[in-house]
């Protein structure tokens, strides 16, 4: 089990960020997420494996700067 934006979410061994995002409903365009306080960015979404009990926030950064 992990938490996603403060809510419980099911977890599987070896689950990557891409797989997590593909499982979400609706359109989304996340380029960055925060896992246990550290950023993981899109270039690493395919290979980064989410650990169990991770606290994840999806960062909707669209037009900052």
């Amino acid at each position: 089990m992990i938490t996603l934006n403060g809510e419980g979410y099911s977890w599987e061994e070896g689950m990557t960020v891409t797989e997590l995002l593909n499982g979400l409903e609706g359109d989304h365009d996340y380029a960055v997420i925060r896992v246990n306080g550290k950023y993981v960015s899109k270039p690493h979404f395919d290979e980064y494996q989410i650990p169990d009990k991770a606290e994840i926030y999806l960062i909707p950064m669209v037009v900052g700067g």
Partner: protein, 710 residues
């Protein structure tokens, strides 16, 4: 305590007007040469067309100067304004001051949006804007005292040189028991000797019981200030409440402000955590996307970037509330307590440093090949104390370091200084020299455009190479984002009115990461909409950060998520609640468009503002050197083959650098065509008379400029 003397030269007692719906309805004019003080009315036309803030600054500056005015002429005028919403304590980001003058770096109009309490205090004291003109042969301090309803000009002797000590001294002098009621604008000795002087705007941090600072950094506004002989401008005001602006609809203002604040408090901890880490969260993100400038914008990534990112600074920052205006719940203006510099006059002493923000970290850190968080804090500290723009200093020294490594300059030119990338002591030594106008630092202080000339003429350096790697456009140093892979952001920098600063457009993610704007027309639309909407904040006295650095949870469901429309609807309500002027979200763009085009026409009036001025160095478009090309060979080879259909078999890296350059330069020209067309400008980048008419800025003198510009 410093021994100093303030001798009154001129004073004017005035009757403070009631603020009405966000306006004081008058501006203040001070000529420090005469000296002379006058109060001018604000007309309904000014409010309707120019709104306030930067709009008022530009209008006043236009009247004050002529087409031949240069930055150091007495008639050049430092204009500072709040805006109709400036000074609202409940709505996050509502305390900005906007400064404008003719810039020593670009020769044209410069503007800067800055925190601190000055703008709101100026307005509540009775003035929507302040103009300071003339030149004094002695140091002067100007006091705008809204409490005692008087304006005073003092001759000053014995005041401290550096901005920190100076602002503290003047806060003590005028506080009369209420230091929170004082805001000081000042610069430092660096502004005297360079073209990159910044202005420090203060607020008093009641919790920490100290003066804090924000900088109007870009384009040498501090240099103009120092050249005039202005030591400081002080505003004095009493308490601030939701009533201070006498809003048209207080209840709506209260409820929309509350909703916005609540959203920020709820979402910031889940999103970018700016109330804890400021803008340092951008460092690891930019690095991951190959966008963090390192080694003079050669590369966008470095394995040591983690040493200067949010995870480090969150532990270095002094915890506490850090809003640069009352009630800003984003509260991103952090600082470092008990920092002990290793060099300069403060070596070995504990100081408080305001910052660093992302731009300073990238400019004075990664771009110099330095990944030491405390070195960056020291650079930040001395730049502020000397009144130097950290972006211009960072980008400028990065250029010097690359010239040094390329052998374009050597130790015989730098007076023995080793200026290889990564040389921390070399960089700090340069900053101290720049501030004092000594040694090689004196040349560096002239900015990249000035350095290119000296390096070519006096040191025999190759001007063509320097043109490619010197990261300036219009004479202004680039702010700290890599643009090689985002054509839209190349345009965002190149076609920005004042020069390459990202406050007009920051499109890298939308363009490069999300691919929201694949066609030239879509890019042009973005380069019309975003610069205009971002301009609107500076008309109203607002900070842009709360708009899109905290994004509503349901934003993705909006038709155009990039615009964060829910917030724009709130801004329209906010504007109407203060001014009583009913507006729809799309009206905000039209308001800005008038001022945006007026600024372009102002550039034309001063001899700039055409296509030829909207160029950028090739380093901003693509790999200048084989080293850069080969570091991302797969990417560039792929583009040549797939996008441009070139057979690269057997081609050398030099050839491929040349081919890619040809394509990318062509793309930039096509983008310019599309953007000028979308903005209602001629193919040379000149607003058409029809555009001026539609925006109601077709004043006779504007049409004259347009006619003369073809």
């Amino acid at each position: 305590m410093t021994e100093f003397n303030l001798k009154e030269l001129k004073a004017l007692n005035y009757e403070r007007p009631e603020i009405e719906r966000g306006y004081a309805n008058q501006t203040l004019y001070v000529n420090i040469g005469e000296p002379d003080i006058a109060v001018k009315p604000v007309t309904e036309q000014m409010k309707e067309i120019f709104i306030g803030g930067k709009g008022f600054d530009l209008w006043l500056l236009w009247q004050a100067v002529t087409p031949s005015t240069r930055w150091n002429d007495p008639e050049n005028t430092v204009c500072i304004a709040s805006g109709p919403m400036g000074g609202t304590p409940s709505y996050p980001g509502s305390g900005k001051s906007i400064v404008a003058a003719i810039s020593p770096a670009t020769g044209s109009v410069m503007d800067s949006n800055v925190g601190g309490y000055f703008g709101p205090y100026l307005k509540f004291s009775g003035f929507d804007a302040l103009e300071i003109q003339g030149k004094s042969d002695q140091d002067v301090v100007v006091l705008v005292d809204g409490v005692d309803q008087c304006i005073k000009v003092f001759a000053a002797t014995g005041l401290p040189e550096d901005a920190y000590a100076l602002s503290e001294t003047l806060t003590d002098q005028f506080a009369d028991g209420n230091p929170r009621g004082i805001s000081v604008v000042s610069t430092g000795q660096g502004a005297v000797h360079t073209v990159m002087g910044c202005l420090n705007f203060t607020w008093f941090d009641s919790k920490r019981k100290r003066v804090r600072y924000k900088q109007a950094g870009r384009g040498g506004l501090g240099t103009v200030f120092a050249d005039k002989g202005i030591k400081a401008i002080v505003a004095r005001w009493g308490s601030v409440s939701l009533d201070s602006n006498k809003p048209a609809d207080k209840e709506t203002l209260r409820s929309v402000g509350k909703a916005y604040s609540k959203e920020i408090v709820g979402l910031d901890p889940k999103q970018n955590q700016m109330s804890k880490v400021g803008t340092t969260h951008l460092v690891p993100i930019m690095n991951d996307f190959d966008l963090l400038p390192t080694h003079n914008f050669k590369f966008g990534q470095h394995p040591h970037a983690g040493l200067i990112g949010k995870d480090v600074y969150k532990d270095i920052f002094d915890p506490g509330f850090d809003g640069c205006w009352m009630g800003c719940t984003v509260a991103c203006s952090h600082g470092v307590k008990d920092f002990v510099p290793l060099t300069g006059d403060y070596a070995g002493q504990k100081v408080f440093v305001d910052g660093p923000e992302y731009e300073t970290i990238a400019g004075c850190g990664s771009n110099l090949g330095v990944f030491d968080p405390y070195f960056i804090v020291e650079m930040n500290f001395y730049c502020d104390a000397y009144g130097l723009d950290t972006i211009a200093v960072g980008t400028g020294i990065a250029f010097v370091m690359e010239c040094f490594e390329m052998g374009l300059i050597n130790e015989s030119h730098t007076n023995g200084l080793d200026l290889n990338f990564g040389n921390r002591l070399g960089a700090l030594t340069l900053v101290h020299q720049m501030a004092r106008g000594e040694g090689f630092g004196k040349i560096v202080g002239q900015g990249i455009r000035g350095m290119k000339k000296v390096f070519a003429e006096a040191f025999g350096a190759d001007p063509v190479v320097m043109q490619d790697i010197g990261m300036e456009s219009k004479g202004l140093e680039f702010s700290e984002y890599m643009t090689k892979e985002s054509l839209a952001q190349q345009g965002g920098y190149g076609m920005a009115l004042k020069g390459p600063q990202h406050d007009e457009a920051w499109l890298i993610f939308l363009d490069m990461v999300h691919n929201y704007m694949p066609s030239f027309e879509e890019k042009a639309e973005a380069l019309h909409w975003f610069p205009n909407f971002r301009t609107w904040f500076s008309l109203c006295g607002l900070c842009k950060l709360p708009w899109n650095d905290i994004v509503p949870a349901d934003n993705q469901e909006e038709k155009e998520p990039a615009k964060v429309m829910k917030h724009i609807r709130w801004y329209a309500q906010y504007f109407a609640a203060v001014t009583g002027r009913k507006v729809a979200p799309e009206d905000l763009i039209t308001m800005s468009e008038a001022v945006y085009n007026f600024q372009r026409i102002f550039n034309l009036r001063l001899g700039f503002g055409r296509r030829e001025h909207d160029t950028i160095p090739y380093r901003a478009m693509g790999p200048v050197t084989v080293e850069e090309y080969e570091s991302r060979q797969e990417r560039y080879d792929g583009q040549l083959k797939e996008k441009y259909k070139v057979d690269i078999e057997g081609r050398s890296s030099e050839e491929k650098v040349g081919l890619l350059r040809q394509f990318r330069e062509e793309q930039y020209v096509k983008l310019q065509d599309a953007v000028y067309h979308r903005r209602g400008w001629s193919n040379d980048g000149v607003p058409t008379p029809e555009t001026a008419k539609r925006l109601k800025i077709d004043f006779p003198e504007v049409l004259e400029v347009l006619e003369a510009s073809g």
